[in-house]
Symmetry: C2
Subunit: 412 residues, 2 copies
Amino acid sequence: MKEHIKIGIIGLGKRGRMLLSIIARMHDVTIAAVCDLYEDRRIEAGKEVEKIAGNIPFSTDNYKDILAMEDIDAVIITASWSSHANIAIEAMKGGKYVGSEVGGAYSVEDCWELVKTYEQTGTPCMMLENCCYGREELMVLNMVRKGVFGEVVHCQGGYRHDLRAEVAFGKENRHYRLANYQNRNCDNYPTHALGPIAKILDINRGNRMISLVSVASKAAGLNEYILNKKGPDYYLSNYKFVQGDIVTTIIKCSHGQTITITLDTTLPRAYSRDFRVHGTKAMFMEENNSLFIDDMHNEFEFKWKEQWNNVENFRKEYEHPIWQDYKPEEDASHGGMDYLVLRAFFDSVKRQVQTPIDVYDMASWMCITPLSEQSIALGGQPVPVPDFTNGKWLNREPAPGGKYCLDRVAGE
Amino acid sequence: MKEHIKIGIIGLGKRGRMLLSIIARMHDVTIAAVCDLYEDRRIEAGKEVEKIAGNIPFSTDNYKDILAMEDIDAVIITASWSSHANIAIEAMKGGKYVGSEVGGAYSVEDCWELVKTYEQTGTPCMMLENCCYGREELMVLNMVRKGVFGEVVHCQGGYRHDLRAEVAFGKENRHYRLANYQNRNCDNYPTHALGPIAKILDINRGNRMISLVSVASKAAGLNEYILNKKGPDYYLSNYKFVQGDIVTTIIKCSHGQTITITLDTTLPRAYSRDFRVHGTKAMFMEENNSLFIDDMHNEFEFKWKEQWNNVENFRKEYEHPIWQDYKPEEDASHGGMDYLVLRAFFDSVKRQVQTPIDVYDMASWMCITPLSEQSIALGGQPVPVPDFTNGKWLNREPAPGGKYCLDRVAGE
């Protein structure tokens, strides 16, 4: 058990800075190094660490410098999507615990490399999927583990977030999303939806995803947006974006469950993860914040509106222990999920145990992106999902327990 | 123009009786004949017509007797799903306007037969898809036609209705759904969701559905339900139902729109058609009864709950003319949609014009069932949707106008 750990942060864009400012406030973690390709970002980040934590972190434009630092226990990767796998692989080889921000892969091969590197090095690699620690997601997980849902049959989720401004002005903001939307057509961001669902369905531990189909709508949202905001002469106004506005993916699991995942980021809408879990005894629906429980709510079949927001009625009994203990600040980043996922990661680093989201989870969640790209390119053809555990999912040794465990609920 | 018409009703189960009791109250329509295989149903139906309308209808167990009656203008088909196409085909040949209840087809060939028979006989054949006349569906259609949604990119709908009791006790209730769930795996009931969406997307009139993929979850809901209700010795308690609990289908259209349709009938839940329409300027969502309009609601991006139920704010401006004129009774069948779809049908019969839902609509909506069955059987393989118009969709002559027209909004 390490009482205190030192970390490096690689990638100091908007997301990196968000996590940096949370971590800098943690008394058992020192941000000993920061890295970004842009000098202005490095300078600002260094100043912030000094202001909050008092230390001046080592600063570099080459992440390999950080991996070479002997006293660094772990790295947080908040660089662009396309660099996650490479940096994670090198960090594992360097013996640094990896906490990687979310994002889809660019090839299935990259996912295999992550797995193989972990198996060679034994260095844990965690995708920092904050939504796995969302309050509703954890409460539903807790209820599923307690049997409230009966047999879970179908889950649904989406990344439904109007990113038109972020994507359209990617050049001005130095944001890598733009190039993705210009050139690729896939569910480029599946893990916020899939992560919590994969844990509910025991993916890689007695169950696995076996195939998927993916279909994309046309791309119309960005052009209309850019034309309205910038007029016809702006360089992107008539650009033929490759990324469809709505990408719907259906995943089939070995035990017959289905998962529907949607990317919905270039049309006007309010934010939602559109989370649903449906079993033989109950259903949770984020869109109206409701729980339908068989033999309790059937009388409301045709007047469900009266039960909207009824989730609060179940809070006391089923709040996940993590959230029983945690009262986030009013302005907590993403409602507190960011803090929790970081604590989950650092908890594993300090205890020197496997992380609650491991490299097999990371590989199987990230691979949905290139697989959806393939399926879309093939006109919706089903494509197989690899078994990154090479059969270990049939009979894994249990994940280490602890407060942040997502496979079992602590204390049970 | 016929001031008064005579009709026959074929099929006197629950649905047939529901429509019968609405029609019997119409002063310009006489129920001149009724048909069912079961004598008790015929007797009860005859009594009801006599009680409400005063006349005693001709009664038979053979629908051909009704088709042979010279003074019958139209037939309403409310028999089992598997008989719709055959009876409709014979009725068209007999020169009777066909109003057929909804249901999926059993083969694509049956859909072609409907179309060919119409083209040979010229007798209109309408699927009585009541949801096309639903209040919200029509208001959204009106808004789409007025440009409020911009370019519509994606639509979603479902038949989400807990039918466990109806299916499980199908033997006791003489209901044909049971045999379907015992033996088939498909979206067996796509048209409540698809009908209104097809009209919004101009399907068969300048657009068409070109392919679909369909994936089914395991079947777990019915067994658990039956076991709980009847114990382990009931004849169906351990029956291996073929029908998956959740069937998700993604349809791609010629102009790049996608449609997601879900069948969800054997798990606990509240009723919903899960209707969504998403365009470049707006989104409608049934699940929380909301409309998100770009440049109006963006400030609510992360607090959408405050806008739940905001559809009422748009009612005055965008209520469809059909619903401006119509105030259903408190206990109106399916909220009044049943009355409206029947009036739409009878209006066409009286005017002797094409029906607002025509045989091409009927064929293309019904064929989703066997196509989803094929796609599921092939592991989610995309399957092509036939062009039942044989190219006429590229340049159809406009549908006849009138109050009940679904292609244009009357008065514009």
